[in-house]
């Protein structure tokens, strides 16, 4: 009987703690939110790029569509990578890799090419959109009011 009573009490304390903690203790995840989101975004963009390449290489997508979508994805990956670096300015030591300036130069160059390809993007999330699109397929924003070129 005593072990059951102790067990019940311990369970009660744990349940109350889990429910009440957010009201009394600071939230631990707020700082991580942006970085986690960026990493998740880049993972998704990388997966989309791979899918895109396979679509093209296996004949599922025409050349003009592929060029537009790929250029936009690469720009988004570069922009996200830059944002990740900004979020973690004192991140772990890394190999030289591509410097920030080079990354920014590439993003700018790509923007120019995207303009030439007449790629339109959602202003809210950067998703590539078709001329006939009314809403962004990624974030659902109304595109009649929020569209940018490149």
């Amino acid at each position: 009987m005593i072990p059951v009573a102790i067990g019940s009490f311990a369970l009660l304390v744990a349940v109350v703690y889990l429910i009440a903690r957010p009201f009394v203790a600071p939230l631990r995840y707020t700082q991580d939110t942006k970085l986690e989101q960026l990493l998740a975004d880049r993972g998704r963009l990388r997966a989309q790029l791979r899918e895109l390449d396979m679509d093209f290489e296996t004949g599922k997508l025409g050349e003009p569509e592929y060029q537009k979508l790929r250029a936009r994805r690469l720009q988004q990956i570069e922009a996200t990578t830059l944002a990740i670096r900004e979020t973690v300015p004192d991140g772990p030591e890394t190999s030289p890799g591509v410097p920030d300036e080079e990354l920014e130069r590439r993003i700018a160059a790509r923007k120019h090419v995207l303009e030439e390809l007449e790629v339109r993007a959602c202003q809210g999330c950067g998703e590539v959109i078709d001329p006939e699109d009314r809403f962004c397929r990624r974030c659902g924003a109304d595109l009649e009011t929020t569209v940018e070129t490149g």
């Binding site: 369970l11 429910i19 999330c125 699109d133």
Partner: protein, 670 residues
């Protein structure tokens, strides 16, 4: 221990209630702390239900017959394996398992999204909380496994002998995980609708949950069919039993959903379909639970009957109404980005797939419910037999196989005549040659089997071509060796190449079923020891009948010798009729399985003094391929759902701060 179990249930109830209240308040503009508290309550409910579940396991292992549930489903002679398996053998235990699994999944979703989808999480938490609260109420007030008896009996009633099979550890668990798993896409769909975030983020967030739920549901159905085949002794694996149909309904809708979301991700279309299918799969899983437990329809699963049918159907109806109302409310936001302008686009073939799965769902639903409707409206009980389902499902399945072959060959957005010719020539030729060859070989007989095999060849050619093209692309464009290309094909694009494996499995499965249905033979005769029957050229002789007594059962064991048409001895088969202590009489099927066919012997009405028995012998062609097909489907689904390292967002390490080398091309587009 019952006190601890009851107390844990009470705490789970309170925590579940708080999840709903705080989640809803947080979603309606409350503070972040309120939402976090709701999420904490979800974890607390998971902890409390874990304690309740462990309490029940301890009571079962202790064989504490003062607890009604333990006395009802275990006995002193029951092995530890089945004693723990008795956890989900009855109503109360299986509902506790449902609530427990749901709470663990809810806690996992909360943890997974602690820093993601923060705009959706209040609604997600509230929705999962409502479902959890509902099941916790059922366990606490309607089917409590901790109810005690006034006086403990000396021994329990024991576990139903039909449940004493390894399947008891696989079939219900996999099914529950599948059923419960569909709560996650449902909760995210409701959250996306409620929060007005109707892009494809909610779909991506639940992709893996949905895939795993589907894989587990498929595995549950597979093991259920196998279990019925080896245990029930009627020579079949699927009888369109209402409870079998109950598992098929969410599976059909879930399968449609998995296909449909691809179109939203790629083209921003079929948004209404996707939210409706996510809600539909959940509603069907609750409806399936209602069919199994209401006792409204007689079934082999009658052991789980109870009076909670109205509650379950009411809850399914509530989910349907809320989901539909939200969809109608958000309809302006759900309008498609693109439009389908030709049937030869890939988008159109996906839409057709959706329609086909929904048609199958309607057939199964109507066939299952018709006896109830007829009873209610006309006062006449009509039974809907397998012939109704076969007549309607067979043509739909044939169209489905054709689509499975054609769909991957179509291009997104635009399909030129040249592209169609390039993609379709080889698979169509393979299908046509197979059809012509088999028709000639069969001289026009077995048309259905020939058609299914020809379509199967078409699909397998498509799958082979798809995988080959993927491999070539990686080999040529990325300079990978063939084995490395094969590995990376799955690692980098798991869903794209898990899909074709699933399709190949479906073909093997349906070809096995077509073979089996078309060429199955059955003989029933009353035989004395020494007499024989012949089925499909094989002679089966009743050689001997012996008794066997163990503490758990009394068994009559028949030995049968099989000899094929050429006189080759195929060995002996042992069939059994057993009587378990305090339980019904059951038959143990005797079986000789080969890759080509099974010889399946069932012994009934045994007279030990006269040494006579009613013997049924079935020749079951291609059953082996049905199981293989199902395993390939599960394997393909598992490959698609597997968290490949390369597919993850990645932890923060040095490499995450650099551009991945594969994307460092200086040119904008190749």
């Amino acid at each position: 221990m019952t006190l601890l179990g009851d107390f844990a249930l009470l705490l789970a109830l309170i925590a579940g209630g708080w999840t709903v209240v705080a989640g809803f308040v947080g979603a309606r503009g409350g503070r972040e702390e309120t939402v976090r508290s709701a999420e904490g309550a979800m974890k607390a409910a998971a902890l409390a239900l874990t304690v309740a579940a462990v309490s029940l396991i301890v009571l079962l292992l202790r064989k504490d017959f003062s607890v009604e549930y333990v006395a009802q489903y275990t006995s002193q002679s029951l092995s530890v394996f089945y004693t723990v398996g008795a956890f989900w053998a009855g109503q109360a235990g299986s509902l506790l398992l449902w609530a427990w699994v749901l709470s663990l999944i809810g806690a996992a979703v909360v943890y997974q999204n602690r820093a993601r989808n923060r705009d959706l999480m209040p609604w997600v938490t509230t929705t999962i909380g409502v479902v959890l609260l509902f099941f916790t109420i059922l366990v606490t007030f309607y089917a409590n496994p901790f109810v005690t008896l006034p006086a403990a009996p000396a021994d329990g009633q024991g576990l139903n002998p039909l449940l004493q099979n390894y399947g008891q550890w696989v079939h219900p668990i996999a099914l529950y995980l599948g059923f419960v798993g569909f709560t996650v896409p449902f909760a995210f769909a409701i959250a996306a609708l409620a929060a007005g975030r109707l892009g494809d983020r909610w779909i991506r967030s639940v992709r893996r949950w949905t895939l795993w739920s589907w894989v587990l549901l498929t595995a549950g159905i597979l093991f259920g069919a196998r279990w019925a085949y080896v245990e029930l002794g009627w020579g079949g694996y699927w009888a369109w039993d209402p409870v079998e149909n109950a598992s098929l309904l969410p599976w059909l809708i879930g399968t449609a959903y998995l296909h449909s979301v691809v179109v939203q991700e790629k083209r921003g279309m079929l948004r209404v379909w996707n939210v409706a299918l996510a809600i539909g799969a959940f509603v069907m899983s609750i409806f399936g639970t209602f069919l199994t437990r209401s006792g409204i329809i007689s079934s082999v699963h009658a052991f789980a009957e109870s009076s909670m049918g109205p509650l379950l159907i009411g809850f399914a109806f509530l989910a349907l109404v809320v989901g539909t109302a939200l969809i109608v409310w958000r309809l302006p936001m759900l309008r498609a980005s693109g439009h389908i302008s030709s049937i030869v686009y890939r988008e159109a073939s996906f839409l057709l797939t959706n329609l086909l799965f929904v048609a199958m769902t309607i057939v199964v639903l109507w066939g299952t419910l018709y006896p109830i409707v007829s009873q209610a409206v006309r006062g006449v009980e009509v039974s809907v037999g397998p012939s109704f389902f076969s007549a309607l499902m067979a043509p739909l399945a044939i169209v489905l196989i054709a689509l499975v072959g054609a769909c991957p060959l179509l291009a997104w957005r635009r399909a030129s005549g040249r592209h169609l010719k390039r993609n379709f020539t080889v698979p169509l030729s393979v299908g046509a040659v197979t059809f012509a060859g088999l028709t000639l070989l069969n001289r026009g007989d077995n048309a259905l089997v020939v058609l299914v095999l020809a379509l199967g060849a078409f699909v397998l050619a498509t799958v082979t071509m798809e995988v080959y093209r993927g491999l070539s692309a990686r080999h040529l464009h990325h300079g990978e060796s063939w084995p490395r290309a094969l590995l990376n094909l799955f690692a980098f694009t798991p869903r794209r190449y898990g899909g074709p494996i699933v399709h190949a499995g479906v073909v093997v499965l349906l070809a096995g079923i077509a073979f089996n249905v078309g060429l199955k033979e059955e003989v029933e005769a009353q035989l004395s020891v020494g007499q024989s029957v012949t089925v499909a050229g094989t002679t089966v002789t009743f050689e001997d009948l012996v008794f066997e007594q163990t503490p758990a059962k009394f068994a009559l064991i028949g030995t049968f010798r099989a000899v094929d048409a050429d006189g080759n001895d195929l060995g002996t088969i042992r069939a059994e009729q057993a009587e378990y202590e305090g339980q019904q009489r059951v038959t143990e099927v005797g079986m000789r399985s080969t890759v080509a066919s099974d010889l399946y012997v069932v012994m009934n009405n045994v007279d030990p003094t006269e040494r006579i028995a009613t013997v049924q012998v079935f020749h079951e062609p291609a059953v082996f391929w049905i199981w293989i097909g199902m395993l390939i489907v599960v394997l393909g689904g598992g490959l698609a759902a597997w968290p490949w390292r390369t597919d993850r967002a990645g932890r923060l390490g040095p490499e995450e701060l650099e551009l991945p080398s594969a994307f460092e091309e200086p040119e904008v587009a190749r």
